[in-house]
């Protein structure tokens, strides 16, 4: 009886209404995201059997030991991390002035148009955009054929495709709008009178930027860094197309272990390790910038 009245009271609360309403979406995420992630976490501690797709239910750390000690895997993980860090640095540093320009120097009624222009390339096929860089940088590509027909070079340049730099360039281009938007939003929130106050109190324009604008824009910069860093570590297409498949990153390795080699435990350990790296790097970055992120209400 008492149970029922508790239930009856709970049914009328705001919390119950909230839980009911959110439950379909939350259940979907639990079934299709949490359960699969838990599955690969479990797989990563199992042993790979002899026959195809067979798993042996023996608990082991071997997959992680292999992942973290074998030079090939370590090299690929380090490459993924360094590529995505370079991409993030390039993207955010190039994007900041654009966000600053749109926020501070564009008339309010033209801002939407600028943002629209910036976001359009992002909504066009990612695959085709990546491939277009291959067309631009390739042996018979746009740059080489253009320079040859202008008579500037005799032999096609070979150093511009199939290397880490071309991967960085392609990814930096692909993720550019992702970096601009959060920085723009943070800049928009800055109270303009703070900048006037800074200058009235005798700071130069550059010092006002350095001591007022930049610290206040940091939440946006942090968001931009995370939004670019996380997906680029796991990028599959660009190493495949621009790297010519010879410069694999972690996503390519996970795919080849899980499907081609059919070593699901090792593939799972690689995937879990990749997620760990992403989380650690992201958290470290957030903590480093913690003093900027305390929001003043």
């Amino acid at each position: 009886m008492e149970e029922k009245s508790w239930w009856d009271r709970f049914r009328r609360t705001e919390a119950f209404a909230g839980y009911t309403l959110i439950s379909p979406t939350a259940l979907y995420a639990l079934l299709l995201l949490v359960a699969p992630l838990a599955t690969i976490l479990a797989y990563s501690f199992l042993t790979d059997g002899d026959s195809v797709t067979r798993l042996v239910w023996e608990f082991t750390f071997d997959n992680y030991i292999t992942t973290w000690t074998q030079p090939i895997y370590r090299a690929v993980m380090m490459r993924s991390l360094s590529v995505s860090m370079m991409v993030t640095a390039v993207t955010v540093i190039l994007a900041f002035p654009v966000a600053y320009y749109v926020s501070f120097h564009v008339a309010p009624d033209r801002k939407s148009l600028w943002l629209f222009l910036i976001t359009i390339p992002f909504w066009t096929s990612y695959l085709i955009r990546v491939f277009l860089w291959k067309v631009i940088l390739g042996y018979n590509g746009v740059i080489n054929s253009g320079l040859t027909s202008l008579g500037l070079i005799d032999e096609p340049l070979t150093f511009i495709l199939y290397n880490v730099n071309s991967i960085v360039l392609t990814l930096a281009h692909a993720y550019a709008p992702f970096a601009i938007l959060p920085i723009f939003v943070a800049l928009e929130k800055i109270d303009r009178s703070l900048l006037e106050a800074g200058q009235d109190l005798g700071e130069s324009r550059i010092m006002t930027f350095w001591r007022v604008t930049l610290p206040l824009a940091m939440p946006g910069v942090v968001a931009a860094v995370l939004i670019v860093l996380i997906p680029t570590i796991g990028d599959y297409v660009t190493p495949q197309l621009i790297g010519g498949g010879k410069i694999p990153m972690i996503a390519n390795l996970i795919q080849s272990q899980m499907l081609d080699q059919d070593n699901r435990p090792l593939g799972s350990a690689l995937a879990v390790s990749a997620m760990l790296i992403v989380t650690v790097v992201a958290l470290a970055f957030v903590l480093l910038n913690a003093r900027f992120l305390r929001v003043k209400k």
Partner: protein, 268 residues
């Protein structure tokens, strides 16, 4: 002049953003099989060639089925979550919403691979609907981001007025809330549709033998002979997504006007 240097930089940056895309129409209309300068002359034969590719047509059909289903499912799930998070307070809301939004900050290959492992583990055959499952998962956070903005700018007193005038909860939602957030729903549908149509990784791993448009394009990139036709296809796709986005942006602005909110710009 203040800001002139920045303006020049911003314009150069836009040129950098658009440079690869501009090449699409240039080479789609170029009368040569090799993608290189100098240009050889104008032709529309690459567009005509698209009509004779049965696999492409199958891929297009699959992609449309997947994109329509995923956008409807994601928007429906998005409405539940956006409404719950903007209207009600309950313990664990932050955690639950974080969980639902998680695909935004997870490398796609991990989402795809973990789903694939479960599907293979259970022994489910890969098909179009398994791609729909994955696409719904990754489109839902985008739908929620758009719909939350729509629900947030909703004036609560309008609903309260309807209750006071004797409408039930359901009829109030249908007569007051839904029409007011309709622009948000439409732009959520369009954005989810665009994301699903363009998504490659999940489709690549979960589609089995059924090609989707990006998977088809990826498979054709290996054959140099097919590249001009792919350029033509790319041109059409870019034109279509610009059109869809313009419509989505139109509805977003109209929605803001309807509820009287300030235009903060942008989709995200």
């Amino acid at each position: 002049m203040k800001g002139q240097g920045l303006r020049l930089y911003a314009i150069l940056y836009l040129i950098f953003l658009y440079a690869p895309i501009v090449l699409l129409p240039i080479f789609a209309f170029n009368d040569a099989t090799i993608i290189s300068f100098p240009l050889r002359g104008f032709t529309t034969k690459w567009f005509a060639a698209l009509a004779d590719l049965p696999t492409l047509h199958l891929a297009l059909k699959n992609s449309l089925i997947i994109a329509v289903s995923s956008s409807v499912l994601a928007t429906t799930l998005g409405i539940f979550a956006a409404r719950a998070s903007t209207r009600y307070e309950f313990p664990g809301k932050g955690g639950l919403m974080g969980l639902i939004m998680l695909p935004l900050v997870l490398p796609e290959v991990i989402v795809a691979m973990s789903l694939l492992m479960v599907l293979l583990g259970i022994g489910i055959d890969l098909a179009i609907w398994t791609v729909i499952l994955g696409h719904t998962l990754i489109c839902t956070p985008f739908a929620i981001a758009i719909l939350s903005a729509a629900f947030q700018s909703l004036d609560k007193s309008l609903e309260e007025a309807a209750y006071d005038l004797g409408e039930s909860k359901l009829s109030t939602f249908r007569l007051i809330t839904l029409p007011l957030v309709m622009p948000g729903i439409i732009s959520s549908l369009l954005i989810s549709f665009t994301i699903s149509l363009d998504e490659f990784i999940i489709a690549f791993f979960l589609a089995g033998s059924e090609p989707t448009l990006p998977v088809y394009i990826y498979s054709q990139l290996r054959f140099p002979k097919q590249i001009p036709a792919i350029m033509a296809l790319g041109t059409i796709l870019v034109a279509l997504s610009v059109l869809l986005l313009t419509i989505a942006e139109y509805f977003r602005r109209r929605g803001l006007k309807k509820t009287g909110a300030k235009d903060t710009g942008g989709f995200l």
